[in-house]
């Protein structure tokens, strides 16, 4: 699929999500309307429980909304079944999570390979790890890597399939400033070189300065949208 810069990748209308956690009913999303464009770097800001992760999960086909619709390149994801969502994730989406979610029994290279094994047009795992500066750590197990390195493996794993969209849920949340900067540089590079639409969830207002566009969420709604007239490079960020 060839996507030109500026084409709408995602369109969401009236997204609502209610789920139960034990005995508690949580209204995670309360009617979200949203457009995401090809090649965009979008930061989602907001406090805990504002619905950022739920939105990201629905965009990535990990979860389905209680009401509303999401279209991916014109196809209604909310009408898709489990098999179609699986195929969607397999072909188009890369995920990065706050706690890396590496498989502890596999090395860095193998953690990437577990995705490239099933992707239609992947890059070699070594190249993906090279992009995030880990070419020297290919055969290390997660337990032998620092937090930042583990997160970079997770990014390599997410981009190795050359996804159309990269969805990152607090990728720097568990990292110190210097390490976090490394990780953001990797994301920045992927966005720039591969043209991957990138959505990053964060609490960290400073990180928002590297985005094309910043969406702020509160209580299940998007309360503010801002376009950065001038973006900072990741290496210029400090927090």
């Amino acid at each position: 699929m060839v996507i030109t810069q500026g084409e709408a990748v995602f369109r969401a209308e009236g997204l609502t999500k209610v789920y139960r956690l034990g005995d508690v009913e949580v209204h995670a999303l309360r009617g979200i309307d949203l457009m995401l464009y090809a090649g965009e770097f979008v930061v989602l800001l907001g406090p805990s429980g504002s619905g950022k992760s739920t939105l990201l999960n629905i965009l990535g086909g990990l979860d389905v909304p209680s009401a509303g619709h999401v279209w991916y390149h014109g196809e209604d994801l909310t009408a898709a079944g489990d098999a179609q969502l699986t195929q969607f994730r397999r072909d188009h989406v890369g995920f990065v999570f706050q706690f890396y979610n590496l498989i502890p029994s596999l090395t860095a290279r193998e953690n990437v390979a577990i995705v490239t094994d099933i992707a239609p047009h992947p890059m070699p795992p070594e190249d993906a790890l090279g992009l995030v500066g880990l070419r020297e750590r290919l055969d290390h197990f997660p337990a032998q890597l620092s937090g930042g390195e583990q997160q970079r493996v997770a990014i390599a794993r997410a981009i190795a399939k050359r996804p159309v969209v990269l969805l990152c849920d607090e990728p720097t949340g568990a990292l110190d400033s210097a390490t976090g900067t490394h990780v953001l540089q990797a994301l920045e590079q992927v966005n720039a070189t591969l043209g991957t639409t990138t959505v990053v969830i964060t609490h960290n207002v400073d990180i928002a300065r590297m985005a094309h566009r910043v969406l702020t969420m509160a209580d299940g709604r998007i309360v503010r949208e801002a376009v950065n007239a001038e973006r900072l490079a990741a290496k210029e960020l400090r927090w």
Binding site: Y19, L21, G22, T54, N57, G60, L62, D63, D82, A83, T86, Q87, R89, R90, D91, V93, F95, F97, F99, N101, I103, S105, L106, E110, N111, A113, I114, V115, D117, I118, A119, R157, K161
Partner: protein
């Protein structure tokens, strides 16, 4: 290799301890299956080949004396394919250097060439020289027991005539694969022999020139056995036939049949228990393994792995465990099978053994173990794979707990906090707790079974040979003798007491039931042979009527007060109609008892006996034995003590192997369940337990919470294992019932104690192995990692 396969292998390595414990349980089940199935198949195949190749007869009929011409008439009956006549007689043997007399059955062989039916397999030496009258062949088991080799000499007393013979060879016959004296429970190769001699020499000794006293036949294909037996009986009636019988009444055939039937039961029951427990273990282990990998499953799915891929991934891990267990089980089963087959060779004197492990046995074993493994793990894997990805990525909601039942019943302050945790944990997952208790109960039950065979068979011997029989020596006459013969023997020096008895071969009939057996005529007030009732009290022989053992009564469909037709299968073949007066409980044979005087009156034979029972003074047994043996009118004499000792030896040999296998396998199951349960509990609750340590609990207190739960489950399993063990023993015993013997369910207190003790010891060992891990709980890590 794909990354996901690497993950499977690494996961397997990571859980190797638990995987090994499960594989061992699976291996136990498969070993049991392969061992019993391969042994059974090999024995059945060997038996069938022997019967076919050595032309085992289909029909036997014994007569007092019949002219050779009568055989021609039998041969012409429809349904009879071929007949062969021969001579058969009881004899006494004297083996130089062996102090006791030996009872033997002597069968004639054609003077020229091989017999047509029941051919002999010559194990050592050579066949008889044509027309030789001083040569004989002996059964190989007897030869082995006395270390006889061709060239040795034996003294044979046949019909009162004694002669020295040379053993020229040892042989095995399809008729005597199980070489046992009629009425005995186990073979005694030292005191009972089969001997073959030339027809001419034997006819001369028996005065049977031109005549026969046994005819054997093979049936034409498709012929009805029952019709042919009836027709043969008609032809032979006037020759003093005892009634023709088929293979099912041929002692050796029948023993093999019953033994193989029992082995068949074992091949079903034991592997089912082991594989059932293995499936349960896999279920528990995989529920927890997959539960712990919940987020990994979610990641795989997030990146586009299908539910089917995830299921296959775990199926691969499970299959590898199942295959390892199968491989180990097949190897162990094959080895144990050879041991078992060798043990059976001691009793079933097959000349050869076609030991084979059929591909089908292995295939069944592997398929069954994989099925058990996949069935066990399937639920857990499917549940995990079906969980929506997004919810799997969230931390699990705290498990729902509530106050335990016991807490609600007891005063509020009577339970400590750790005890509350233990009780709530058990109550929160009642199914898992129930399965754990069940698994442990089966392990304990198998330990009980290990002791059941041994103790029950010993108990049976105790009842049959110690309680019911009180004599020291017994003697059988060559023919009926006047009752005063007993007094003559009673007058021998060293004899304390003597009682005459009479055994008569009969057929008992009631309505459409009919059974061949023997009636024992006993003197009222006799003490040396006394039937016992189900309360183990001796029953007095009534003046009239039959005393039947309860199993025989069931087979005939009669109870006290009913009337039984008695057809005597010797002499004038008299008929009598006798009421059933009492039921007794005999565990061996199909005995019926009657008042000796009433028996003699009914048969019109006068006051006669067929043998005597004696008690002797201490130290006089050998002398009296020798004196009895010397008398030409005495066919054979036996020592009760010697037979009982031989019996115990046989039982120990036969049940010993089974016992050790059962103990080993019960232990494996027990360890498998306890160790796995503890490891799982530790893995699931590592955070909670480490948190308690951080809060200041000691290692001992934390161990109490973890292992206390298991201790409660182990304690609950013990009474259940008693019930399961008794049930399984009862099931086995009911399958061991046959006309030959009935094994009572006798489980001594020691067997219960043994099962409980092994369960506790095994649980403690498993607990110690896990306690060591509590020591290594990561107290800092638990505070850092995410929930």
């Amino acid at each position: 290799m794909k990354a996901i396969h690497r993950k499977a292998l690494r996961d397997l390595w990571h859980m190797r301890g638990q995987a090994l414990a499960i594989a061992l349980v699976i291996a136990s089940g498969i070993a049991m299956l392969v061992m019993s199935r391969a042994t059974l198949d090999s024995l059945v195949d060997t038996r069938d080949r022997l019967y076919a190749d050595y032309r085992f007869a289909d029909l036997w009929a014994q007569v007092q004396r019949a002219p050779e011409s009568l055989a021609g008439r039998v041969a012409q009956l429809p349904g009879v394919a071929e007949v062969e006549t021969r001579l058969i007689a009881g004899a006494k043997l004297e083996v130089p250097g062996f102090g006791e007399p030996v009872e033997a059955v002597v069968q004639s062989l054609p003077d020229q060439g091989e017999p047509v039916q029941n051919r002999l397999y010559l194990r050592a030496g050579r066949a008889l020289t044509p027309h030789a009258d001083d040569e004989l062949l002996v059964s190989d088991s007897f030869a082995q027991a006395h270390r006889l080799v061709p060239g040795d000499r034996l003294r044979v007393t046949l019909r009162g005539r004694t002669q020295w013979f040379t053993v020229v060879g040892t042989a095995v016959s399809p008729e005597h694969v199980y070489q046992i004296k009629p009425g005995a429970m186990f073979p005694d190769y030292q005191r009972y022999a089969i001997v073959w001699m030339g027809r001419r020499a034997m006819a001369a000794a028996l005065d049977m020139n031109g005549a026969f006293n046994q005819i054997t036949a093979r049936l034409a294909p498709g012929a009805s056995e029952a019709d042919t037996l009836a027709a043969v009986d008609q032809v032979l009636a006037r020759a003093g036939s005892r009634g023709a019988h088929g293979r099912m009444d041929q002692l050796s055939y029948r023993f093999l049949y019953e033994e193989f039937r029992q082995l068949g039961t074992m091949t079903r029951v034991f592997p089912a228990i082991f594989l059932g427990v293995a499936a349960f273990l896999l279920n528990v282990v995989f529920t927890r393994l997959v539960g712990a990998q919940r987020d990994q499953v979610a990641i795989l799915k997030a990146f586009g792995y299908r539910t089917a891929d995830v299921v296959l991934h775990y199926a691969l891990i499970v299959s590898l465990i199942g295959l390892a267990g199968s491989a180990l089980g097949v190897a162990a089963g094959a080895w144990l099978g050879t041991q078992l087959a060798q043990m059976y060779q001691l009793y079933f004197r097959f000349p050869f053994l076609h030991y084979q492990i059929g591909a089908s046995v292995v295939a069944i074993g592997v398929a069954v173990s994989l099925l058990a493994a996949l069935a066990g793990a399937g639920r857990a894997v499917l549940a995990a794979a079906a969980e929506p990805v997004a919810s799997a990525m969230r931390p699990p909601a705290p498990a729902r707990f509530r106050r335990a039942l016991l807490e609600r019943l007891l005063p509020r302050r009577s339970l400590t906090q750790p005890l509350r945790i233990i009780l709530r944990q058990i109550e929160r997952q009642p199914l898992r707790a129930a399965l754990t208790v069940t698994g442990l109960a089966f392990a304990g039950a198998i330990m009980m079974m290990a002791r059941f065979q041994d103790s029950s068979i010993n108990h049976m011997v105790e009842l049959a040979y110690r309680l019911s029989q009180q004599h020291d020596l017994s003697a059988t006459f060559t023919e009926l003798r006047p009752a005063r013969a007993a007094h003559e023997l009673g007058a021998l020096p060293g004899v304390r007491k003597v009682e005459g008895i009479r055994q008569v071969p009969v057929r008992l009939r009631h309505e459409n039931h009919s059974l061949k057996t023997a009636i024992e005529g006993l003197r009222p007030g006799g003490v040396l042979r006394r039937p016992i009732n189900d309360r183990r009290q001796p029953v007095d022989i009534p003046a009239d009527g039959l005393v039947l053992n309860d199993y025989l009564a069931r087979r005939l469909g009669v109870t006290v007060g009913d009337t039984v037709w008695v057809e005597v299968l010797e002499g004038r073949r008299a008929w009598a109609q006798l009421p059933v007066a009492h039921l007794v409980r005999d565990h061996v044979g199909l005995a019926a008892y009657v008042n000796l005087d009433a028996l003699n009156r009914a048969l019109g034979d006068g006051d006669v006996i067929s043998g005597v029972l004696l008690t002797v003074e201490d130290g006089q047994e050998a002398a009296v034995f020798h004196e009895l043996d010397r008398r030409p009118g005495v066919l054979g004499a036996g020592s009760r003590l010697a037979s009982v000792e031989a019996l115990y030896r046989s039982i120990a040999q036969m049940t010993g192997l089974f016992m050790w296998i059962s103990i080993l396998m019960g232990g494996i199951i027990n360890f498998g369940v306890v160790y796995n349960s503890a490891r799982i509990a530790l893995a699931e609750r590592g955070r909670e337990l480490a948190s308690l340590r951080v809060l200041g609990f000691t290692e001992g207190e934390v161990a109490t919470i973890l292992l206390g739960e298991l201790a409660v489950l182990v304690a609950l399993s013990i009474p259940l294992s008693f019930a399961v063990g008794y049930g399984l023993s009862w099931y086995l015993a009911s399958n061991l019932q046959s006309d030959l013997y009935r094994v009572p369910v006798h489980i001594p207190a020691s067997a219960y104690a043994f099962a409980a003790l092994t369960t506790v010891v095994s649980a403690v060992l498993s607990g110690l192995a896990v306690r060591e891990r509590i020591h290594h709980l990561d107290l800092i890590g638990v505070l850092k990692t995410r929930e």
